[in-house]
């Protein structure tokens, strides 16, 4: 049985969506998080820094969004939301999954904190060229891997849905349409209902 270590309205929410897409049995375990006001990591959470998401699955423990997405889509391939080893889109799938954590997240945070990105030193670049790269790929789309929706789209669409309304996000009709396309999926509606319950 898959257990999702979760905190409502955080980076773990989209994994309810992913689990709904997978169609495998799972349970949600709510944990507490540290905040700007302090606190300590929840001992029930296996993430080494007490962050969410993390999952456990028959004794295996996975944390960090790109790792969890890949682990689940490799282990439960029947849902068809992640190309497996040997698939011609596997390279793109891995690249986009890692890029989410290594480039999009730090670029958003750099912009949000209003700090210049040390280009050449940092592994990421400013938010604008990051978004441009995504827009270019989605323009050929409709999804990051082309015709087929994947777990990579869950990471990107949920992030854009969360940050889209903030003034730091460059406006893009391509991204707006993409977010709508992804969020219109029945599994997303089921996940929202589940989180609200």
């Amino acid at each position: 049985m898959i257990t999702l270590y979760h905190r409502p309205k955080t980076r773990s929410s989209r994994f309810i969506w992913l689990l709904e897409e997978l169609g495998q049995p799972y349970e949600i375990k709510e944990v507490t998080l540290r905040s700007a006001q302090g606190g300590s990591p929840d001992p029930a959470n296996p993430h080494p820094h007490g962050k969410v998401p993390a999952i456990s699955d028959n004794g295996e423990v996975v944390w960090e969004s790109p790792a969890i997405a890949l682990y689940l889509t490799d282990k439960y391939p029947t849902a068809g939301i992640g190309p497996t080893v040997g698939d011609p889109t596997r390279g793109a799938y891995l690249s986009w999954l890692v890029y989410y954590g290594s480039a999009l997240e730090p670029a958003l945070m750099s912009k949000f904190m209003n700090v210049a990105v040390p280009v050449g030193t940092a592994g990421w670049v400013e938010l604008e060229p990051t978004i441009e790269t995504v827009v270019k790929t989605l323009s050929a789309g409709p999804y990051l891997l082309g015709e087929k929706f994947s777990a990579a789209d869950i990471l990107y669409a949920s992030t854009f849905a969360m940050f889209g309304a903030m003034p730091i996000m460059p406006k893009s009709p391509v991204i707006d349409a993409y977010v709508k396309r992804c969020l219109d999926r029945p599994a997303h509606a089921r996940a929202q209902a589940k989180e609200a319950a």
């Binding site: 969004s65 690249s95 890692v98 997240e105 280009v119």
Partner: protein
């Protein structure tokens, strides 16, 4: 044929090190990129979307981002296994730490270097001191990152620790120094340094 888009003394070195460990044929293509001092230009020959290194092509596949490239290579080329395959024991840890390297370790250490305070709840990473504590605790009871066997994690995280300690971005400790000595005495490390 594997082509590695490479620039000496950069992050692409770790992929070169991995290719040497895997023992698979490859070619390198040296590309220029935009450096921190403003010199250098984005090389049009480089398929990376931001003209960064590493990028890698292999029979029509194109990859960017070190962890993605490492995972792709260690899944595909299994003659000298450099990481557990899908379904094998240790795959959970392997994937988690591969994501941790660029998603937590790197931004945490860079933020400290640039004096950016950690903000809980907003940042997807952790404070640098905590990253150091987690890595020290993890390595205190292990020879290699996954335990007994050398893997691509020792190149990405172990190599990263080596260079970050050298640059003064990470605190030197006996645990981490003995670990980095163990991995940097490998012949493939010397090949990377000479490339």
């Amino acid at each position: 044929m594997i082509t590695l888009y490479h620039s000496p003394q950069t992050r692409s070195g770790s992929i070169l090190w991995l290719l040497e460990e895997l023992g698979v044929p490859y070619e390198t293509r040296q590309v220029s990129f935009r450096r921190v001092d403003g010199t250098g230009e984005k090389d049009p020959a480089n398929p990376h979307p931001h003209g960064k290194v590493p990028a890698l092509t292999d029979d029509g596949d194109m990859l960017f981002e070190s962890s993605a490239i490492a995972l792709y290579l260690t899944d595909k080329y299994r003659k000298t296994p450099m990481g557990p395959a899908a379904g094998e024991k240790g795959r959970d840890e392997y994937l988690s730490w591969l994501a941790y390297r660029p998603g937590v370790m790197e931004p945490a250490l860079l933020c400290r270097r640039f004096g950016i305070a950690h903000v809980y709840g907003a940042m997807g990473w952790a404070p640098a001191e905590e990253v150091e504590a987690v890595l020290n605790e993890h390595m205190a009871s292990r020879d290699y990152f996954l335990g007994r066997d050398f893997s691509a994690l020792d190149i990405l995280i172990g190599g990263g620790i080596f260079f970050m300690m050298m640059a003064g971005m990470m605190a030197k400790t006996p645990v981490l120094e003995s670990y980095t000595t163990r991995i940097t005495t490998r012949p493939a490390f010397a090949k990377m340094m000479a490339a």
